[in-house]
Symmetry: C2
Subunit: 232 residues, 2 copies
């Protein structure tokens, strides 16, 4: 499908038919998801593809039984993590070094700067250190200001995971099916179903299926572009 047709055809689908969406369609969309740009290429995302009918009912319940969740042929939970960066960094560095030696700058970036930004401790000592350094050095020259806290770090990984989710949803549309991202869910219950700890956050739950008649609510309403697009 032509790219702009995909952009224009992607709509949030609130009710699906019982048509089966082949696994290959979801697989291809997941592959597209992982090709999204992401913070420092640390790929802090995870996608939980629900295959168990029992867990699917539990997930739909945790999504407050909304139509999308109840009728979806596939449910995928997108999760962001603040505890996979070291593992992923090491794996990516291995792959990079297999093609050419790591430059000094790159080594410094991944083994000094990244840990100094990402490292968290239970007492917030790293966070306090960052806060002081960023705000003192920032008086004299431009400097990154965040992540400071664990919450800031979650913002980084969740933002990046959202980029991947958008690739996923567009790739579903490109293959002739529909999707809907859900944020109305009980995160505590979903984390229990997925056995996730406090280093993970549920970014969104995405329902996939063939759109049922009336499954898309009317035309797409957007505010006047002049309200949100500004020239400097």
């Amino acid at each position: 499908m032509n790219f702009f047709d995909v952009i224009n055809n992607r709509r949030s689908v609130r009710r699906f038919t019982d048509t089966t969406v082949p696994d290959e369609v979801v697989q291809k969309a997941l592959d597209a998801a992982t090709k999204a740009p992401n913070s420092s290429n640390l790929q802090p995302w995870e996608f939980y593809w629900c295959k168990s009918p029992e867990k699917k009912v539990q997930l739909a319940e945790a999504c407050l039984f909304q139509g999308t969740a109840r009728t979806a042929n596939h449910l995928i939970v997108a999760v962001s993590r603040i505890d996979t960066w070291e593992r992923n960094r090491d794996l990516i560095m291995q792959k990079m070094q297999a093609t050419e030696p790591l430059s000094k700058d790159l080594h410094n970036y991944y083994y000094k700067i990244i840990p100094s930004l990402y490292r968290q401790d239970p007492f917030g000592i790293f966070a306090l250190g960052r806060f002081l350094i960023f705000n003192i050095m920032g008086l004299f020259k431009p400097i990154v200001r965040r992540p400071i806290s664990k919450k800031d770090l979650f913002e980084v990984v969740t933002k990046t995971t959202a980029l991947a989710c958008q690739n996923f949803m567009l790739a579903i549309t490109a293959q002739g099916y529909g999707s809907c991202p859900m944020e109305g869910f009980d995160e505590k219950r979903i984390k229990k179903i997925l056995k996730l700890n406090s280093n993970a956050q549920v970014v969104m739950v995405i329902g996939v299926g063939a759109p049922a008649p009336g499954g898309i609510f009317g035309p797409q309403f957007r505010v006047d572009p002049n309200l949100v697009i500004h020239q400097l």
Copy 2:
């Protein structure tokens, strides 16, 4: 361009040539951005398209003079806001009502549920109320758990804005140009250039241009999909 070619061709471009990217290209990508799905259709995003050469230098400086920022033909700052939801809700409701009367459920959702989730006050009274209600009711039935705090609300609007940013970047690739999202920036300085207050957050700065030779750093390295895609 075919959709999956766009997904595969989109790479982060760290250096651009001095080729001019026509305004229509950026405009079309901004239009694609605003077609992204977003939390409750409240469209809490803003895109600042830098046209002033003077401000462009200031922005590049605030982006720590990285190659993407220095050589970009266009710089777009994506911003998320926690203070435009009421305005946007009213505008969207007006548009919806022009086609058919608002259902009771929809009215309830937008005028009761949304304010109860989005409303913030300087003393955190709404946040405390939400925390108590969500955690007490959540003992008995599935319920949304967040947003509680202002930081949570920023997570919602920033996540949604990231979905739009991904549409934007793909749309630039689809038109034969390149982009790079930047998160290494001095948010305080950017907010000063853009005259933004504490209800706005800088989500990312996106550079746009024609990729220079060597502007894309080697092949795309991704971790083993089995590490990030799980079946339930």
